[in-house]
């Protein structure tokens, strides 16, 4: 039985990419950082057409038109998927809170103008935009306006007060205004001067500065969800969800269960009439062990599994399908001189790039990752476990945007990622590093999970190995770390996670531009110029190239030392009757729209 399973496992692996970071539907999460954007190094797709790069109207295929992994006639319809959420959503209004608990639930009921492509032909972290509410879109010749034409078959859910009416541009405009007024990340759209709706099915975004990120941002499931115009007036979106998405909100029993039912008139249903299941039930289970045992007891259809539990699970339940995708989670070691002057300040011991390179070369990334995430044992047991290295400053899980530090694509800077303590010591000595000075390593504890804590401790150990006098200084997350250290007001060294973003923009602007959270106060004019260029480059391939150049440049300077916490696969176990999720899973918070409609249960 077991050998059959593993044969199937490997066949699936070699045939195409596999699943799954199902955290976006609530099964995976770690201390509020459960966004699991995931890279996929064995993706077989080479197609990366861009919707952002077009200047003529682009027809965006309906979701249902993407091929399914299973022939339509074999799909069994009905049944309800039973899965879990790690906690209560603080609110059901996606504008009011940015946690995955709120944003991920929005994806069940609401729609965006664009969404990520999903299906057997699209990689997990390809981040390709396609229309959701948008039928087509066009950029004006000077790229100053994005004109979005809405589909005309979008119906709201058949619930008062909207009662299944047609969605129009008015809903988009009202939502936009409410989004700007209430959302904490609306500032990401500062380049949009105004939004106009010349007719019922046209929305025009007028940009003060033409910015190529407008479509990625409108695609991002962390940003603009379109709610009916009645939201906040005729119904309270903090209490109930009424939208146009694939699932109709059924009930939310606090600390118990959130349930949605299939919306038969979903605009994305396609010829196969998705969603295939009758609904989804998320049971709210804060404890990991409870989720795992409920899965083992047959009360959940799928669940996230820690790397250290996979071998036991494999032994107990050999038929369970287990696989994982890389998380888009960026940990990093950062520095600052005395008086909060940043890494490059005049008195900073880290201003010499040889020092920063040495710090990077002091780290044995493979060993750190193996210890934290059990990679070697899992590989030996037949799991598709791999080690990828985060780059400066892009997480390995960000797929197409990431440059592999182990690959030739990283250029000369690849040498600074290799574990080479001897060379690291030489560099430090050559730079007259003050070995007699003691530095704090500032970090949190028990906030991000045990894997973060262990990688942090190992990082500290490797720094000591090359002669640095470093002492751990544990900081309270909310009163000290996030208020002071994270925003660059510290001296010495610090180690932490970057906010998880579903696109590359945040990973570029946060650490390298005049941003309040520029952690090491790195303001390199050449780098800023490259970042600005990437923001105004509308050709996707050219923009990708610039983003890769930025990583090579930043890695050469080693402005931040990429850490390995978060550079791991998020493992998910599913009972074998759960079909199609592997083929449709996408990164970020969007799977309830992009993945779940195509899941079916072979029961």
């Amino acid at each position: 039985m077991a050998s059959e399973y593993w044969n199937r496992f490997w066949q699936r692996r070699t045939s195409r990419r596999r699943m799954l970071g199902y955290g976006a539907t609530g099964t995976i999460g770690a201390a509020g950082l459960a966004l699991v954007g995931c890279g996929d190094d064995d993706d077989d797709t080479g197609a990366t057409p861009t919707s952002a790069g077009t200047t003529a109207p682009t027809n965006t295929p309906a979701p249902g038109e993407t091929p399914t992994a299973t022939p339509a006639e074999t799909i069994k319809r009905g049944g309800r998927l039973r899965t879990s959420l790690t906690n209560d959503p603080p609110t059901l209004d996606p504008y009011k809170n940015l946690t995955f608990l709120a944003q991920g639930r929005a994806a069940t009921v609401y729609s965006r103008l664009f969404k990520f492509r999903s299906g057997p032909d699209y990689a997990y972290a390809a981040y390709e935009s396609t229309g959701d509410l948008a039928e087509s879109h066009e950029l004006t010749g000077d790229n100053s306006q994005l004109i979005v034409t809405l589909r005309q078959d979008i119906m709201t859910h058949p619930i008062p007060p909207v009662n299944g009416r047609q969605l129009t541009s008015d809903d988009v405009k009202v939502s936009w205004d409410r989004y700007l007024a209430t959302s904490q990340n609306a500032g990401d759209f500062n380049f949009v001067d105004s939004v106009e709706t010349p007719d019922d099915f046209t929305v025009v975004f007028k940009m003060g500065t033409p910015t190529a990120t407008i479509i990625p941002l409108l695609t991002s499931p962390q940003h603009f969800w379109v709610l009916p115009k009645e939201a906040g007036i005729d119904f309270d979106p903090e209490q109930i969800m009424i939208g146009t998405g694939p699932w109709i909100f059924r009930k939310y029993d606090i600390s118990q269960q959130l349930s949605v039912d299939r919306f038969p008139d979903w605009h994305g249903r396609g010829p196969e009439n998705a969603p295939f299941m009758d609904g989804i039930d998320w049971f709210i289970m804060p404890e990991y062990v409870t989720r795992l045992l409920q899965f083992q007891g047959g009360n959940l259809d799928l669940t996230g599994v820690n790397a250290n539990d996979l071998l036991d699970l494999q032994k107990d339940m050999p038929n369970v399908v287990v696989s994982g995708e890389f998380r888009a989670l960026m940990s990093f070691l950062y520095m600052s001189g005395p008086g909060d002057q940043g890494a490059l300040g005049p008195d900073s011991p880290f201003k010499d790039e040889r020092v920063r390179r040495a710090l990077s070369m002091s780290q044995d990334r493979d060993t750190i990752t193996d210890i934290a995430y059990n990679v070697e044992k899992l590989s030996k047991a037949g799991f598709d476990a791999k080690i990828l290295w985060n780059a400066t400053f892009m997480p390995a899980g960000l797929g197409v945007y990431w440059v592999d530090p182990k690959s030739p694509a990283m250029g000369d800077a690849a040498a600074y990622y290799e574990y080479n303590p001897g060379e690291a010591k030489k560099l430090l000595e050559a730079a007259d590093f003050p070995f007699d000075q003691q530095f704090p390593l500032r970090a949190t504890q028990n906030v991000y999970g045990s894997d973060f804590d262990s990688t942090r401790d190992l990082t500290l150990g490797y720094l000591k190995d090359v002669g640095l006098d470093v002492v751990m200084e544990v900081e309270d997350y909310s009163s000290r770390y996030i208020k002071q250290t994270f925003v660059g007001n510290f001296d010495g060294l610090a180690y932490g996670y970057q906010t998880p973003f579903t696109g590359p923009e945040g990973y570029l602007t946060r650490p390298f531009t005049d941003n309040p959270a520029n952690h090491s106060k790195i303001l390199d004019p050449d780098l800023i110029a490259m970042i600005e260029k990437s923001a105004t480059e509308f050709d996707r391939e050219a923009r990708l190239q610039i983003i890769h150049d930025i990583q090579r440049y930043a890695s050469d300077k080693m402005y931040y030392v990429a850490g390995q916490a978060g550079a791991n696969q998020a493992w998910v176990a599913a009972h074998p009757y759960v079909k199609n999720y592997a083929e449709y899973i996408t990164a970020g918070y969007g799977p309830p729209t992009e993945t779940d409609p195509y899941i079916w249960l072979d029961t």
Binding site: G32, R82, S84, N87, D88, P90, T91, N97, L98, T99, Q184, N185, G187, E238, D253, I254, S255, Q256, Q257, F283, I284, M285, P286, E287, V289, T290, L293, Q294, Q296, G297, G298, N299, L300, D316, D476, Y477, S478, S479, R480, I482, K483, F486, V487, Y497, Q498, T499, N515, P516, A517
Partner: protein, 315 residues
Amino acid sequence: MQGYILRRVMLAIPTIIGITMVVFGMMRFIPGDVVDVIFGDYGTNPELKEKILNDLGLDEPWPVQYVRYIGQLGRGDLGHSIISGRSVNQELKARIPVTLQMGLMAMVFSLIVALPIGVLSAIRQDTIFDYLGRTFAIGLIAIPNFFFAIMLLIILAREFNWVPPPRYVGITKDPVENLQIMILPSLVLGAALSGSVMRFTRTQMLEVMRQDYIRTAQAKGLRERTIIIRHAIRNSFIPVITVVGIQIPVILGGTLIIESIFNIPGVGRYLVASIAQKDYPVVQSVNLILAVFIVVLNIVVDVTYGVLDPRIRYR
């Protein structure tokens, strides 16, 4: 008796006011604030942060916030969660019966186990029954309840492919499913209590069994069963009631962990999540409710003590 109860109630009022002050102050002494929690590492917008603090009234001086809080309490309004905006009254209305049921079942379990073994251990002192009973009691006290809970679930899931249903169902809606969900957490919660009650029962029984009136009963030729049931147990149980009353806060404390492990939507789980999120109104209100409950319970225990023991007179 009535005068005594009135005096106790009057004395409880300053106690409860003191508790509100302590809890109110402690929540504000903890580093960081709720807005930091809401923002997390997205927190780069000081203006919006100020606005949220203002909207929540958290930018006012503490005494002003406290007076407003007491005013709300006076109207029976426990406030709204800062994180979710939901009414604390409504939340507690749904959660208190769940926790009470679990606490009650835990109490029943513990007494069913503890009393017979405690009595048997005493009347068969220094026999194999006594040694086994005492070992069992120490074992129950020594095992941490979270460990016991997880082991129980693992054994059931792995060996019997059974775990409690994932969703709580009220006892009036489906008693069978309710018991399936509640029986394990109640058992775990009751275990530690039963250990201590068992040991205390044994000690009390031993003391009573050495009293003159027991010796008199034995001299009169009464059967052992009659002596134990009619004379010894009633007198030995009076102090046990006090111990059980004192243990109720321990049970309530246990719900914080056990409700999370068994996924029970009770007050304990609510409190844990609220503390982590620095959700002031919820933490204050839940603590207040728990404090009032414990104060009232203590009064009830003291009164019951007098009812059971005619030698006690309240003045």
